[in-house]
């Protein structure tokens, strides 16, 4: 499979990239290419201008300041998956980075690309929601978008056509985990649940539970979050009970591999597993 023709640019700064994005004909950002190139090979998308961000290396970094983390958009899944700090302080992201795709995809694919792509079966969107992450977007002017406002639907985000996602920030989440039920062929999530807990000693004080893979965009399971409060982290039965009925009022997807009913039921099971994992030390 062979993509249609395009012009290729490799700018050396965000500004240059933004300029190309505004001026180039049917321009698109190329990050790791792990979603874009497969789609171009099938000619599902045919950009005329590709702007390769790899010339802007300052976009690839993970920085911790106190309990606050900034991840550059160009940071690869592999570098997150190998990062001991991320593992300790944001287990939910570490889990997802490890569960996503395969080693080769992780070596090239980036967190910014995965989030901008907003595949409904992708792993990071739920994670970002559970982390309550903030997306730093460069464009005409730089703006910040909360995760809750970023993921709009299938392949749809708050990013404008001439905007570039540069960074993602979030607070440390020591008690957090991501668990997914994989599609047997694609590795993508049939259901993926990201759990971020606030624990006081062994009790769940507060929780952010986000579910991906089911609907057009990830969503928070508000009911589960409420029911988890006050539950002991080692009380598996109570966690299961709290996670029952995690999905309400969503338009759940169905395919050859898994029906909407199954995905909905699995959301409860996977949510309980994710919460259980989040209560345990990393």
């Amino acid at each position: 499979m062979i993509p249609a023709t395009f012009n290729y640019f490799r700018p050396h700064s965000i500004e240059e990239a933004l300029l190309l994005l505004r001026q180039g004909e049917a321009a698109k950002i190329l990050a790791g290419g792990q979603s874009l190139i497969p789609m171009m090979k099938f000619r599902v998308v045919e950009p005329k201008t590709l702007i390769d961000l790899q010339g802007v290396p300052e976009l690839a970094h993970v920085m911790w300041a106190g309990g606050h983390c900034t991840v550059g958009a160009l940071t690869t899944h592999a570098s997150l998956a190998a990062d001991a700090d991320v593992r300790r302080k944001a287990g939910v992201l570490w889990d997802a980075a490890n569960a996503l795709g395969d080693p080769q995809v992780r070596n090239l694919g980036t967190i910014g690309g995965a989030c901008s792509h907003a595949d409904p079966s992708a792993d990071y969107p739920a994670v970002m929601l559970a982390l309550d992450a903030c997306f730093i977007v460069a464009g005409e002017k730089t703006r910040e978008v909360a995760a809750a406002d970023f993921f709009k639907g299938t392949f749809e985000t708050a990013l404008g056509e001439s905007e570039i996602l540069t960074k993602i920030t979030f607070d440390a989440a020591a008690h957090s985990a991501y668990v997914k039920l994989e599609h047997p062929a694609s590795h993508y999530a049939l259901v993926g649940v990201a759990a971020v807990l606030v624990m006081s000693r062994d009790t769940i004080e507060d929780a952010r539970i986000a579910i991906g893979g089911l609907a057009d965009a990830p969503f928070r399971a508000g009911g589960v979050e409420r029911r988890l409060r006050g539950i002991k982290g080692n009380d598996g039965a109570a966690i299961k009970a709290a996670c029952t009925g995690a999905v309400t009022g969503q338009d759940v997807r169905s395919d050859v591999e898994a029906s909407a009913a199954y995905r909905t039921a699995m959301a409860d099971v996977i949510a309980a597993r994710a919460v259980g994992a989040a209560t345990r030390p990393r």
């Binding site: 993509p3 395009f6 190329l30 290419g33 390769d52 790899q54 080693p103 080769q104 995809v105 090239l108």
Partner: protein, 180 residues
């Protein structure tokens, strides 16, 4: 048309007239005649096209050649020859880790990348570590054996360290990939 300057298997190449849409796998196979890198799918799923980019495994069917500008690519032809096999090649041979051989070149490079990250993987780690590569012939049984054997051989080939001194990096155990 683009210009590209890169290192492939230790040799510098400067080429003009590279169409931006030219995939790295086609660049390697057609422009450089390195046909050991295979193509097995069109969805970035099979890993037959795996090469090392700056020492790390990537799918060369999911990369444009121009993206490799300024970087170092290692293909199967660059890790060893019949006269001097890489320990991973030797292990695939000794353990019968291949049948038709089509997946094998990519599998070997992925396995090398796996040992870079984890020099002493157990069976489960090997199986998950090779999740980017499909083999239809072997049922993976002997591939797993081969990677275990290669890990042991490569560990044994390491210069003796002071007792207790950890390896400087996982990559220290490997002599591959032109990381710069």
């Amino acid at each position: 048309m683009g210009r590209i300057e890169l290192e492939v298997n230790g040799t510098r190449h400067e080429l003009e007239g590279v169409e931006p849409r030219l995939l790295l796998v086609h660049f390697l196979r057609e422009r450089l005649a390195l046909t050991g890198t295979h193509i097995g799918c069109d969805t970035s799923s099979c890993g037959a096209c795996t090469v090392l980019l700056d020492g790390k495994a990537v799918k060369s069917c999911t990369m444009f050649a121009l993206q490799a500008d300024g970087r170092a690519v290692t293909t199967i032809e660059g890790i060893g020859s019949s006269a001097e096999l890489h320990p991973m090649q030797e292990a695939f041979w000794a353990q019968h880790g291949l049948q038709c051989g089509y997946c094998t070149t990519g599998m070997i490079l992925s396995a090398i990348d796996l040992l870079r990250r984890n020099p002493d993987p157990d069976e489960v780690e090997i199986r998950t570590g090779l999740e980017g590569n499909l083999c239809r012939c072997t049922g993976y049984e002997n591939i797993v054996k081969a990677v275990r054997a290669a890990a042991a051989a490569m560990a044994a080939a390491q210069p003796v360290r002071e007792a207790g001194e950890p390896p400087k990096s996982p990559g220290e155990l490997l002599e591959v990939g032109g990381s710069r």
